[in-house]
Amino acid sequence: MSGNGAEARAAGVRVLLVDDEAAFLETLRKRLARRGLTAEIAVSGEEALDVLARAQEIDVVLLDVKMPGLSGIETLQRIKAAHPLVEVILLTGHATLEGAVDGMRLGAFDYLMKPCEMDDLLAKVFEAKARKTELEGRAAGGGGTP
């Protein structure tokens, strides 16, 4: 279980959960919220893009690879195109190695096999958030020095 340190790190981390299983999304959202994370949910790739367009402050997207409509990989491409600083962690039920490799090539931060342990999930999310912060800092610093 997450300790106090984790909760401290969790504060201010905004996560978007994307999966076609609404029951899974809702429970995961509550569990993340309990650990101090702000979690939005979307049941499709299209909805996820809408949420991202509305709420610019999302840090990490947890994205299911296998979804009806816009697939996880397509959604990833669009997210990275529109919001390059947002980190994406792929959630995959199928151990589709090719999908994971493609995802990594397309800019995904990492991948997780569903169902996953909360500790693993949190660890990945925090790593992703840390990288995003680092990249934002670099971008801001780079922008400050022409």
Partner: protein, 577 residues
């Protein structure tokens, strides 16, 4: 599958087919050529014999006509009274004998009553009476007459050439006897080969010459042949004129019969030609075997050649068929083995697909169940629930649910990774790139297991023909195995290098190593040393299958408690069947 009876009958039918296909044209060509040769050769021999007989017939007819003509000339020029003078007749006979090489034996003048009024010759035949003889009656009826051969008064074979003369108001016969021996020699001189025999018979089949050997046909049979031969041919009086007409006869006048089963045993060719205007027949006989000797010799030679060729073809057919059937046996055995492997692989694949379907369907509900259990555990963490008397029991039960759910998840993940479809399409791939990808992909897992992954890649490695998916599968399996082998963490090194015409890929770990006893079986399917539920025993056998399919080799070196290195040798050239 390896039915000996089937292969035996296959060998038989192949031998038969090869034999027939090879021999049939040979036999056909030989038969046609032999038939053509046979026919034309026989035609040529027959034509030659006909020509020979015809020529001889002309000679004999000429001989007879000449003798007749001489007597006729004498009768025309010399008055009858001169013939009555014995001294003059003797002088004429002497002259005839001198000019005709002794062909004439004697001469005589016979009156209308058949009394020989004058005679010159070696016998004492003055006043001999011929009134009752056949030749005299025939001579009186014809102007010119050549008699059959007969014994007559002298008791030795001879024949008479007679001319009817009208003088002093009466009819006379001027006759001369032809020497039988010289005539016989003339007839017999035609003999060709070893069995050639010529003779003359009259209409009754009676011999007019004396053959050296027994003739092939008796008088009765000969009469039949003569009757057939002379069908429609009218019989006129023989004269120098008719003999001259006979000389112009064509080969068609010569009849050819084949006498089967003669006294000599074999078939006999019998050629007959009319002589003396059909009164006599020149017969020429020769054994068929003798006449066609060269033909039969050639036929025997070619039969021998065909027989030899046939035996050769048969031997070759047996040899070639045996070799081919042996190859087929070998190929069948290999095919059967392959089939078994394919069936096994097919079974495995269908089991895998079924398992994957179930795993996928279970995976999502399982994820929800685990999340829900986790959520309840989260809630039980609340202050007011902690005080509940059954709190500890509820937490224990939920943890048990999560633990068992975790087991289910591990199983579904393994099933899915085992059954996931691998694209076997071969293209040129850069091994280094795949190694880098896979190392990166496994980095998180390695990190959690306290394993450090390093890569040592040879630069400028050539591309090799392979399926990227399959190669990824091989690397992931080997890397996962290596991580599992290092329970307390360690080093995992993946290296590549070029060696001859192969790319060498090594995956080395610093794990527990493989005991010698297990080494022989590590590539066997379903062989695993991992705890129940942890390993399927398929990883290394899948790697083995993939590498072998690529024409490569996979081997392993391991030292207990020091580590294991898997060596994969991948050929630069495609080696797939």
């Amino acid at each position: 599958m390896f039915d000996r009876h089937y292969y035996k009958s296959l060998t038989r039918s192949m031998v038969l087919t090869v034999f027939l296909v090879s021999l049939t044209p040979l036999a056909l060509v030989s038969a046609i050529t032999s038939y053509q040769f046979h026919t034309s050769y026989k035609d040529r021999v027959n034509a030659h014999l006909r020509e020979l007989v015809l020529k001889h017939k002309r000679n004999i007819d000429g001989f007879l006509a000449e003798k007749l003509a001489v007597i006729r000339v004498l009768a025309d020029l010399i008055p009858e009274s001169r013939f009555r003078d014995p001294a003059a007749l003797q002088a004429i006979l002497k002259s005839l004998q001198d000019r005709h090489h002794g062909a004439f034996v004697d001469m005589g003048l016979v009156d209308a009553h058949g009394v020989q009024v004058a005679y010159a010759g070696p016998l004492r035949l003055e006043r001999a009476r011929y009134a009752e003889t056949r030749w005299f009656r025939e001579a009186m009826r014809h102007e010119l007459y050549v008699s059959d051969v007969f014994l007559g008064l002298r008791g030795s074979p001879h024949f008479i050439v007679a001319v009817r003369v009208r003088a002093s108001g009466a009819e006379w016969i001027l006759r001369a006897t032809v020497d039988f021996e010289s005539f016989n020699e003339l007839v017999e001189s035609v003999a060709v080969g070893q069995t050639g025999l010529a003779y003359i018979v009259n209409n009754q089949g009676e011999f007019q010459t004396r053959p050296r050997r027994e003739a092939a046909v008796g008088p009765a049979e000969m009469r039949g042949i003569l009757a057939r031969a002379s069908e429609g041919a009218g019989r006129g009086d023989f004269s120098p004129e008719s003999a001259a007409a006979g000389i112009r006869m064509s080969q068609a006048a010569v009849a050819l019969d084949v006498i089967h089963g003669s006294a000599g045993g074999g078939d006999v060719l019998l050629l007959t030609a009319p002589l003396k205007d059909g009164a006599w027949t020149l017969a020429y006989q020769q054994d068929e075997a003798d006449a066609y000797e060269s033909l039969y010799h050639a036929r025997n030679l070619s039969l021998f050649a065909i027989l030899g060729g046939g035996v050769g073809i048969l031997l070759m057919a047996v040899l070639v068929s045996n070799r081919m059937v042996n190859r087929i046996v070998e190929a069948d055995r290999e095919r059967d083995m392959m089939n078994e492997q394919v069936i096994e692989a097919g079974k495995l694949a269908s089991v895998g697909e079924l398992a994957a379907g179930i795993a996928h369907e279970i995976n999502n509900p399982l994820a929800i169940m685990l999340e829900e259990a986790g959520w309840v555990l989260d809630l039980l963490d609340d202050e007011h629930l902690r005080r509940h008397e059954s709190h500890a029991e509820m937490v224990r039960a939920l943890k048990q649910i999560r633990q068992q759910g975790g087991r289910c998840r591990d199983i579904t993940h393994k099933l899915l990774s085992f059954a996931r479809k691998i694209d076997p399409t071969v293209k040129l791939v850069q091994v280094n790139e795949i190694v880098r990808d896979m190392a990166a992909l496994s980095d998180q897992r390695a990190h959690l297991a306290n394993v450090r992954i390093s890569v040592d890649l040879a630069p400028d490695l050539p591309e090799i023909p392979a399926s990227p998916s399959e190669l990824q599968q091989v690397l992931v399996n080997l890397i996962n195995n290596a991580i599992d082998a290092m329970e307390r963490g360690g080093e995992l090194k993946v290296s590549t290098r070029l060696e001859g015409a192969s790319v060498i890929l090594d995956v080395a770990d610093s794990g527990m190593g493989i005991p010698k006893a297990n080494m022989a079986r590590i590539f066997d399917p379903f062989y695993t040393t991992k705890p129940v539920g942890k390993g399927t025993g398929l990883g290394l056998s899948i790697c083995y299958g993939i590498v072998r399919k690529m024409g490569g080799e996979i081997s392993v070196d391991s030292v207990l408690n020091q580590g294991t290195v898997f060596h994969i040798r991948l050929p630069l050239e495609e080696a797939r069947a």
